[in-house]
């Protein structure tokens, strides 16, 4: 049961990364690509958390935590740049 849930989560993360990269490749404007990068950041954090459970090492959760704290910085800078503020 628990193994099945982990497999379902891995498949969902797989399709999240596939469609995010597809949007980044086909994206018409800069805003599409920035939102795709933001979504891929969230998917990456969930992937690290899933791997922390699979590998059984809780030190990886610290990496996910630091990543979640710092990941908004790039999107914030790009948004500020698009509004001519940087």
């Amino acid at each position: 049961m628990a193994e099945g849930i982990l497999v379902v989560a891995a498949v969902l993360i797989f399709f999240g990364i596939v469609f995010g990269v597809l949007r980044l490749t086909l994206g018409h404007t800069v805003v599409d690509r920035v939102v795709a990068v933001d979504m891929l950041t969230v998917v990456s954090i969930s992937l690290i958390a899933l791997y922390a459970h699979v590998a059984g090492r809780s030190i990886y959760l610290d990496v996910a935590l630091v990543y979640g704290v710092l990941s908004f910085l790039a999107v914030l800078a790009i948004s500020r740049y698009l509004e001519r503020g940087l």
């Binding site: 990068v37 992937l47 940087l86």
Partner: protein
């Protein structure tokens, strides 16, 4: 179980690098470079070195985009 995700991340790094080279706008090239760095950080974590992944995520994906944007802003000509 997660080996196919590592292969997918490697392919995504390749796609992001090619996009960063081939795109016309410098801003979208910077965004694609940030994405390549992000996937590289996740790949480092999945391959078993979380400290390298943490440093790559904070510096490569966060700080370098900031410096790139500052450089783009300072070097583009203002239209009078």
């Amino acid at each position: 179980m997660l080996e196919f995700l590592v292969w997918l991340l490697c392919g995504s790094i390749l796609v992001s690098g090619i996009l960063a080279v081939r795109l016309d706008s410098t801003l979208t090239a910077a965004v694609s470079g940030a994405l390549a760095s992000l996937f590289a950080a996740v790949c480092y974590v999945l391959l078993g070195s979380p400290d390298v992944g943490m440093t790559e995520a904070s510096i490569g994906s966060g700080l370098s985009v900031l410096i790139f944007l500052y450089a783009i802003r300072r070097t583009t000509e203002k239209v009078p």
